[in-house]
Amino acid sequence: MARVLTVTVRAGSEAVLDRLLGLLRRRCIPLRGISFGIARDGGPAPVHLALDTTDPHTVGQALAHLRRLPDVLSVNEAAEAGRERELALVQVNVARDDQVRLLGETDPLNTRLLSVSDDRMVLEVVCPPPDIDALVDRLGTFGPVAVCRSGVVPTPAQGRDQLRE
């Protein structure tokens, strides 16, 4: 279980990712994933850090130390809804006759069909890592599966919606 912190940093800051990651490493605060946005018009840029801990003391220390950095404008913990997600592209070698049934089974996971042919389908899914594991297991019953996963990406709620869009 990760705790996601959203750090807003001063745009154009030199080596700001080095500063953030170096601080967490130095303070022995485990990091599971990181994602960062693009500064628009020179404005502040958001960085999302997924901490590999739920220990309140460790999270508190991370918040306090991050807030000390001169390049950091604000640090907030993302809401519960915005916890860790992973993006996966899944290719299944599946015969045409089984393709409709496959889509029915993957629908609850909000998968998106990217391409389809007579013997193959490619799906995109964004969900917690265990759900992707389960999806891959299930798709394996239809035929050979190839998966490309992004790794854990900390996403606040709106970020997740954007990913889906």
Binding site: R10, G22, A64, R68, P70, D71
Partner: protein, 597 residues
């Protein structure tokens, strides 16, 4: 007005109030050194960049002003690293300026190129590389602001050589970024009330004074008033020395691994601990789970990240020590004064102090006294004449410390290196005002004292500056004797020579069954009197206690730098000592009167 960026930098330093810089030139920093020539700023040419950064630290620690160190690219910059981390851990306001290869050569493994920004990221409060000449003055302004604001610390500015030569328009000071100019949040009045409740009700209160009190103007006075209001004993950390007068009746001395018996016992038995401007360093707490086991902790610190980092406070208050103590004092004064409730507690603390005072005569017989043969012969001859035959008593490091205190008083600035002598100095050199005990605490950097003393003396020419170093640490930056001579800085350099890396030897004796490994410094040890003569410094060697008064008088009265070597007992240990991993009241106290172990 247009000028080179190097000239603009020097003018900006002047505008920031810099009067002295410590540095060592090189190719990439030439634009800055060229501009220095026409500047009223005094440049002190140290003989190594590490000397420059420690000198800047000494200057800053003695005054509270920002110290400035300058170095060239590559090895010049990397030689600053130890001093930068030292300044970071001890919260020293410092700005380091380094040259860098021209922008076009960056990233090409050019001559004397180093990724200084990357290397110094973890050892600075913040750092910059100036890639646009137009940004230089904003960076300088921000660097000085960051170095001295909030919890002070070192900031580094890396300037490519071609940037230094570029033309810029000098307008200073430029505005600061908005997020850096936010006023500090108001002191939490609810927390102040809770703290006052706890302290008012305490039966065994103890105040723990840290470096944050020393660094905050007005805080020592407020702390003393709070102690008197609460009738509470005050213990100090190494950096807290001088935060309350060592002559105050409530002062109980230093806590921690080499803390005094009374101070450690007071903290361990406290029911409420008011910790001000300190960070519960492991050398202070000993085994963390056994630290102050009965105490509710009120922790005041300017750095919110320190609250709960090592010790979870019952009440944590963020803010400058003087400011928060002022609020706390007002709240306490508005309440019923503490009168006699804490008297029994104070008596108990005094009883602990009497049981193991700082000074204990003749703790032990020493195995290998260092007495030169000619002295033995002289004394033997005199003794024979007198009808007796006795060797002179050996010189103890504690004798030396006591002599320094007696001779130079509490007004002198004492600058120590790291090791046994540092702890003895902390015990015996009684400080009565802030910024008079300068040492490397957090990083424990051997080689600190000589250059730091140089910086401190230039910052405070009105005070005697006594440098105390061991024979190991002294040799680590020994080249700065040349700087001392060149600048005619009247340092009183006291080298406590026991022929060992004393503290390491002590650990090996106590915790490794006396297996001394690589601690003997006598092979190759230079004759310090000849060395002093080589540098043109007066040198005195002392190896007997009865010579101490004469040596101290010479040291006090000599015009200019003087080096006094004390050949002391080799295997003397610093006590009390808390074994690593033990609780602070589980102390080794040597084998003097009233020993526990």
């Amino acid at each position: 007005m247009d000028c080179t960026a190097g000239e603009a930098l020097i003018r900006a330093l002047q505008a920031e109030g810099v009067d002295v810089v410590f540095g060592y030139p090189g190719g990439a920093i030439l634009p800055v050194y060229d501009a220095l020539l026409a500047s009223p700023i005094r440049h002190v040419l140290t003989r190594h960049e590490q000397g420059a950064v420690h000198a800047a630290e000494g200057y800053a620690k003695a005054t509270g002003r920002v110290g400035v160190a300058i170095a060239t690219s590559g090895p010049g910059a990397t030689n600053l690293v130890t001093g930068l981390l030292d300044a970071l851990l001890d919260s020293v306001p410092l700005v380091a300026i380094t040259g860098q290869v021209p922008r076009a050569l960056l990233g090409r493994d050019s001559f004397q190129e180093a990724d200084v920004l990357g290397i110094t990221l973890p050892v600075t409060k913040h750092n910059y590389v100036v890639k646009d000449p137009a940004e230089l003055l904003s960076v300088v302004r921000e660097a000085f602001h960051l170095a001295r604001s909030g919890r002070p610390g070192p900031v580094l500015i890396d300037i490519p050589k071609d940037v230094g030569y570029a033309k810029v328009t000098y307008e200073y000071p430029p505005p600061l970024a908005a997020h850096l100019t936010q006023p500090p949040p108001p002191v939490d009045s609810v927390a102040i009330n809770r703290a006052a409740d706890l302290l008012q009700a305490a039966q065994r209160p103890v105040i723990l004074c840290g470096g944050g009190v020393v660094a905050s103007p007005g805080a020592p006075r407020q702390l003393q008033a709070v102690a008197e209001q609460l009738q509470a004993p005050v213990a100090v950390t190494l950096h807290g020395l001088g935060g309350i007068s060592g002559r105050h009746p409530f002062f109980v001395g230093m806590v921690g691994m080499h803390g005094l018996y009374a101070a450690n016992h007071a903290v361990q038995h406290a029911d409420v601990l008011l910790a001000v401007g300190m960070r519960f360093d492991d050398r202070v707490t000993g085994k963390l789970s056994k630290f102050a086991p009965h105490a509710q902790v009120v922790h005041i610190d300017i750095d919110p990240a320190e609250l709960g980092k090592n010790v979870a406070p019952t009440v944590g208050i963020t803010g400058d020590s003087a400011r928060v103590l002022g609020h706390l004092l007002a709240e306490l004064q508005a309440r019923q004064p503490v009168t006699s409730a804490n008297q029994a507690w104070l008596q108990q603390v005094r009883a602990w102090h009497l049981k193991h005072p700082v000074w204990v005569e003749r703790r032990r017989e020493f195995r290998t006294p260092v007495i030169e043969p000619h002295v033995l012969e002289q004394v033997a001859a005199a003794s024979l004449d007198a009808g007796e035959f006795t060797a002179p008593p050996p010189l103890r490091a504690e004798d030396v410390m006591r002599a320094i205190q007696v001779s130079f008083g509490s007004e002198a600035l004492v600058v120590t290196d790291v090791g046994q002598h540092q702890m003895w100095a902390a015990h015996f050199c009684l400080r009565t005002e802030p910024r008079t005990f300068i040492t490397s605490g957090g990083l424990g950097t051997m080689g600190f004292a000589l250059p730091a003393g140089l910086g401190a003396s230039l910052a405070r020419p009105d005070r005697d500056v006594v440098v105390i170093a061991g024979d190991g640490g002294f040799q680590m930056n020994i080249q700065e004797l040349a700087t001392v001579v060149a600048e005619q800085v009247p340092l009183r350099i006291m080298v406590v020579n026991n022929g060992y890396l004393g503290m390491v030897r002590q650990w090996q004796e106590l915790f490794h069954d006396g297996r001394y490994s690589a601690v003997d410094l006598t092979p190759g040890m230079p004759d310090l009197m000849l060395l002093a003569r080589a540098y043109g410094i007066r040198g005195i060697r002392v190896d007997r206690p009865d010579l101490l008064p004469w040596a101290m008088q010479e040291a006090r009265e000599h015009q200019g730098p003087i080096l006094v070597e004390f050949q002391v007992i080799q295997e003397e240990n610093v006590y009390p000592m808390v074994s690593p991993g033990a609780a602070n009241d589980d102390m080794l106290v040597g084998d003097g009167p009233g020993n526990l172990k």
